[in-house]
């Protein structure tokens, strides 16, 4: 991959996103996203079509804002007490780059602790990023949980 964006730049961007999520800085996290952004967590790994299939999450920017607002409101019982999370992002690869728009694949492991129980979630992130300006903007974030088809519990924390 020859392009103007380096893997190190991408890694720094993804690490920053991970840190904002794990530190509960959701408003700052939201600002990483483009106004037309989509945040998608499908059930199916292959052939998932959000227009026809129900998803775990399929947020436009407005609903992402509501998601953050709800978490920060203090009235979301499912996050009272809040989940404590720490995540590792790795295997970062720039899959494509065109005119400063990049598609990035990475793997993640999230340890989530709540109610005396630790859960481990793992999967793959796919970020479409507009890397043209000084401030990169996420245009689309897709989260493929390895266990997405398993009966799920409380996923009201941020993946």
């Amino acid at each position: 991959m020859s392009g103007s964006v380096t893997r190190q730049q991408v890694e720094e961007f993804l690490y920053r996103e991970a840190r904002l999520l794990d530190d509960g800085r959701f408003q700052e996290w939201l600002e990483l996203f483009d106004d037309e952004a989509v945040y998608w967590v499908p059930y199916k790994h292959q052939d998932a079509d959000p227009h026809r299939d129900v998803s775990i999450i399929y947020d436009d920017r407005a609903r992402m804002g509501e998601r953050v607002q709800r978490l920060l409101s203090g009235n979301a019982h499912s996050q009272d007490p809040p989940s404590v999370t720490r995540r590792i992002v790795g295997n970062v690869e720039i899959e494509s780059e065109e005119d400063g728009r990049i598609t990035v694949s990475s793997n993640f492991i999230i340890a989530e602790f709540r109610h005396d129980q630790q859960n481990v979630y793992a999967g793959r992130y796919e970020h479409e990023i507009d890397a043209r300006g000084a401030q990169w903007r996420i245009r689309r974030k897709k989260v493929e949980l390895v266990n997405s088809t398993q009966p799920q519990g409380n996923l009201s924390f941020m993946l």
């Binding site: 967590v41 059930y43 199916k44 959000p50 227009h51 026809r52 299939d53 129900v54 998803s55 775990i56 999450i57 399929y58 609903r63 509501e66 998601r67 607002q69 709800r70 409101s73 009235n75 979301a76 019982h77 499912s78 009272d80 109610h115 088809t149 398993q150 009966p151 799920q152 519990g153 409380n154 996923l155 009201s156 993946l159």
Partner: protein, 393 residues
């Protein structure tokens, strides 16, 4: 922990004992006396739309295949168990198959259940009759308005008799769109450490909404409107339809909770709920473990954008990351089970509105929007079946 008193005494007209949510002997009795004696929902015709289509599911704790015969197009419900050494013969959630071939020793069944292939059959001798060794069919199958039900025992009421006063509500669901409905958008499957009845009780309970889902109402700017509606509305009501079925005519759509194109939610005893734009199936796994499957209902014969909008509205509230459902997991199930351990007063109250119930000439009981009519309807049937099961062994 097992006490000597008959289990039906754990449910009174106005309260239920905490043991019904925690005890293994109660759970075992429910499986035997309720789940084996009731018509149970197994799927919708749209999930097996053509000859050769199948879906696998569970009838209480037993794996079954809902299969539409390749030759006759007839829907059967077959136990998912090879007649030879018991392995399930189909492990996929849904698909198309003319045959189910057991991976263990190659026994092969046509999708109407007949045993068509038994490798090296002569080894079983001349008394072996292939025609008697097909997949066992669940004793009774019934279809009402596309909703497929099965029953693990013979006899009892027909499906239509069983559905009774719930039928007109199912009729309305089935005719939501010009082409009817279809469960084509997949399933949201969830699980929690708690009793299955808590999910049923919570499925029609407008009383809890303003509290458990306060954050949702605030997001939508509907909190005051909701409280006003619940306190003052005379058109919203809860109804005990008999046989444990109940309905709430709460119009959630006005409040932005799902695409409620029919203004009611329906519980069909013991474990089917039709809420707004979804079919919800509750599956007991253990006294304190439950699986819930939510199938969004798509409309046939409408523009694609209409269904897509239904999905988006549905996801806003439901599913493991929705703005509503996780709060039920936390409060209505998790915190209830924590509280059930306190034994000072072991009873839970379901008496709300009991003094203002009205009964019409058909025997349907009516209550106010937030009255615990659905809970009483459910437990009245629960008690009847637990008691009847005890007397018949």
């Amino acid at each position: 922990m097992a006490a000597v008193e008959p289990l039906e005494q754990l449910v009174l007209d106005d309260r239920v004992h905490g043991r019904i949510y925690t005890d293994q002997d109660v759970f075992d009795a429910e499986m035997e006396r309720i789940y084996k004696q009731c018509w149970l929902y197994v799927g919708h015709e749209s999930e097996v739309p053509e000859p050769g289509a199948y879906k696998t599911t569970w009838l209480a704790d037993q794996p079954v295949i809902v299969s539409r015969g390749s030759d006759d197009g007839k829907i059967r419900v077959l136990f998912n168990r090879c007649r030879h050494r018991a392995a399930i013969v189909c492990q996929y959630e849904k698909g198309y198959a003319n045959f189910f071939r057991c991976a263990y020793h190659g026994w092969t069944y046509s999708n109407d259940g007949r045993l068509t292939g038994c490798p090296f059959q002569d080894g079983y001798g001349k008394d072996f009759k292939k025609e008697e060794m097909g997949l066992v069919q669940v004793p009774q199958v019934g279809i009402y308005q596309g909703f497929i039900f099965a029953k693990l025992t013979e006899g009892g009421p027909t499906l239509e008799e069983w559905l009774g006063h719930a039928k007109p509500f199912i009729d309305r669901v089935a005719t939501l769109a010009p082409g009817g409905i279809e469960l084509s958008a997949g399933v949201q499957r969830g699980a929690y450490d708690g009793n299955w009845k808590l999910q049923i009780e919570n499925s029609i309970d407008p009383y809890h909404f303003g509290f458990v889902h306060e954050s949702f109402l605030e997001l939508k700017g509907k909190k005051r409107e909701w409280i006003k509606e619940m306190k003052e509305s005379t058109t919203r009501q809860t109804m005990d339809l008999g046989n444990g079925h109940s309905v709430s005519t709460t119009d959630h759509e006005k409040l932005g909770i799902g695409s409620y194109t029919q203004p009611f939610s329906l519980i069909v005893f013991p474990n089917l709920v039709i809420i707004g734009s979804q079919v919800r199936v509750v599956r007991p796994l253990a006294p304190k473990r439950t699986e819930v499957s939510i199938y969004p209902m798509m409309l046939k014969g409408v523009p694609d954008e209409v269904n897509e909008q239904r999905l988006r509205t549905h996801e806003a509230f439901y599913g493991p990351a929705g703005f509503g459902l996780p709060d039920d997991l936390e409060v209505a199930f998790h915190r209830v089970h924590l509280g059930l351990q306190a034994q000072g007063d072991p009873w839970l109250i379901i008496s709300r509105g009991v003094d203002r119930e009205r009964v019409d000439e058909k025997g349907i009981r009516y209550g106010g929007a937030t009255d615990e009519v659905p809970q009483r309807a459910f437990y009245r049937q629960w008690r009847r079946m637990i008691a009847a099961g005890a007397s018949t062994g």
